[in-house]
Amino acid sequence: MAAISESKQSELVQGTLDMLILKTLALEPMHGYGIAMRIEQISKGVFQVNPGSLFPAFRRLERAGWLKCEWRATENNRRAKYYILTEVGRRQLKAETREWGRQIAAIARILEAS
């Protein structure tokens, strides 16, 4: 899904990109580049998000009704498409975060057991 261009960067775990986008938008509405930057920054450069994954994800989340979008002016007064988390999206984020936590814990237990 998410691509990596350098070896020190990691591949995103399958299916997590959607969750990361939702999480990023939980703070405030953002445009595409902003979201990519934020994910990169917060992960301290571990994840680099490729547009080839990012934009299909936007379309997918939009279709699912978790995001909606709006054309707004940016800080430097250009027109950009802003993505906004919907109420459904917020609930979905919560559910996915919980599920993710469960899975991480389970995987950790398996790794420790051996």
Partner: protein, 894 residues
Amino acid sequence: MFALRKFLGGLRALFKKEREEGELDEELRDFVEQRAATKMQMGLSRQQALREARMEMGSMDSVKERVRAVGWETAFNSFWQDIRFALRMLRKSPGFTTVAILTLALGIGANTAIFSVVNSLLLRPLPVEDPGEITVLGMQQKNEILSQYFSYPEYEDIREQSSGAFSGMLAYRLGLDGLSVNGQADHIITSFVTGNYFTMLGVKPFLGRLILPSEGKTPGADPVVVLGYDYWKNRFGGDRDVVGKSVSIDGHAFTIVGVTPKSFHGLNSILNMQAYMPMGMATIEGDFKGDFMADRNARGFIVFGRLKQGASVQRAETTLNVIAHRLSEEHREDEKDLALSVFPERLARPVVLPHNPIIAASALFLALAMLVLLLACFNVANLLLVRATVRQREMAIRAALGGTRARLIRQLLTESLILALLGGGAGIMIGVWGSAMIGSINFHVDLPIFLNFSFDWRVFTFAFVAAALTGIIVGIVPAFRASRSDLNELLHEGGRGVTGAHQRLRSVLVVAEISGSLMLLVVAGLFTRSLENAQHMSLGFDPEGVLNLTMDPHEVGYTEAQGKEFYKQLLERVRALPGVESASLAFSVPMGDTYTSKTIAVPGYTPPVGQQQPNVSNNVVTPGYFKTMRMPVVSGRVFSDADDEKAQQVAIVNQTMAKRFWPHEDAIGRTFWAVSAPKKPYRVVGVVKNAKYAAIFVHGESYFYVPLAQEYTPIETLQIRTKADPGNMAAEVQKEIESLAPTLPVFDVQTMEDSLGGGQGFLIFRLGAALAATLGILGLALVLVGIYGVVSYTASQRTHEIGIRMALGAQPEEIRRMVFRQGFFLVICGLAVGLLGSFAASRVVGNFLVGVSAVDPVIFGGVAVLLAVVTLAACYIPARRAMRVDPIVALRYE
């Protein structure tokens, strides 16, 4: 909810495609810009920053493609693209397209036509409430055949004791009656029904009311009649004021109380019932006296049950077994060794039969039609294989331009599916025509036959599924073949495309085709032979030159005395007509639809242990009968006018009956009597030659005749042997009848030869032979086209090789032999496989044949030789063409 949103999003995208595309474009460009801006802040030049940003993104088009691929509408779009492309390709080669569509249309059409018949005969549910719960009861006494006729007391007992498994049970009796109104009488088919008939079925009146549950319990008590919709339309012109009107049925006054809905035709699947009367009114029928409601042996009632909700047929059968046992204990004489059975209504059409041959025949003909479709598939698959070879280069180029293999296969399958669906559309038209042809069969009987072969959703679904499957079957192998091309080899000049595997596959197709068509032809041959045998079978009488007219004076209320007088005068007048050789009356016409039988006791004859008293069919005739029918008398005498009601009761028996009951002595002068009338014995006065009686396919039946004067039955067929064409006399005779009895309906007016074509006669043989022959000829045509195509294509592919051979000194004759040999080998293989298949199929077919073995060597051999000659001729033409190849031209082709 979720799916709906996705769907709506996709729909929006489909319609606002351009706007959304523009937005995506802008968004992506923006992304690159901002990325570049960030990189410039890190110290890169603008040009270098932009370059890097673009490289990170990769091809903008591919990103867009991936975004587009998210929604379902993309799949739709590319599907639409495939369809348009496929249509363009098909238009580009109209010859191929036409041949393919026509071939498939023939195959699908044959299937659809036969399926529409099967649908009408077996699948379409009764137009009643919850038709799946409706069942038909059958009964059987030891060593008797399975029957669907019960007596009224039996019905009552079973109904009362079976309420655990059935929520309702009705009985009805078919009747032929005369309905007169305004001095005009019609001969109609009627049902005498129990009061719960309509309520149990859940049928609502179209006009007025139907028979009420309270009606019909007392003989003669409720003179009301409900008309069938079509009869009401035809006879009363759809007059809504008909309710309350008075009519006369068999001379009794009745009041019309209602009309049934249009969809309801009664409970017999092939008759269109014209009127319904309460059961108690069955007393108006001449042969049914008032005590039928108490007589355990007066069996003439068909019993339908509605299963309780959730109750299975098995459970119902268990319940009935208990009842049967109880009844045979309680009534040791009448219900001896009674067994009851129950059938889902659809499996008991048109009547309850031991192994319903309609189901077996349906399966057989559907299988034959499928075989035809399979042959059509082979032909089209072969055409597509050829095309695949031709299009290998196109496929290679598309693959080089980035088309994935799956995409190419999808494209090719779309093409074959479109072909098949177009073929299916044309096939439906052929099917409509075909089922109309089958529906136009003449039953040679004046009854409202109800055959509705119209195309409902079941037939359309069948045609659609057949077409879709056909599309996949014919397309899948060529699609995989074509898409598997090796890019490198093909794009280099010199890839000649023909590979060994192709050849093998094609050979298999040819062998399969020959064997399939051999099976079709063998079945066609067997059925034709069987029809021939049936038509040349010794009937035991001479049907040529005889005219039949049937009438029932009881239908206009004639008493026995009036009826006898009428018939006496009628015979005198008809005999006086010029051109009449002899005239007589008979209750039963061979292969007709009225017949009767008696359970008899013969002094000195005891039935084998465990068997009932013998039940023997009989006829009621006037003295001239044997002369009119030209039935030879073996010994004794025929009836005379002296054998009247005052004289001793006499009978004439056939040879089988004489031999069965009086094997060691002369039958003449012996006596026997009907179990129902032991005090009135018959004395045998004559023995006549055996003949065919009820049905053409029944052999060696015992049979006897009694004189009409001693045993009056009102319904009689006037049979006239004429010197000239009997058909020409019909009008004249009808005029005589009209002058004697002005309102009497006369029906089944036809020559004896025509009447032999009816349902008990040649009808099913003719129908079977016609259907099998049609399918066989279709199969033959398909195999011819197929083999010619394959052999000539293969030969043309070998032009180069042939050129080299000839350049190296091969003689034209050798070339011809080489090409021919290949075809010859395939034909022999095909014939061998086909003969094996025919042997396997013969067991099923054998059940439908008369006078011919299902593995008849003449037919098997004849068909094999015919097919060999025809297919080898189809190989010969291309072989001759190959012989004339000019080596220079063939080699220069490179």
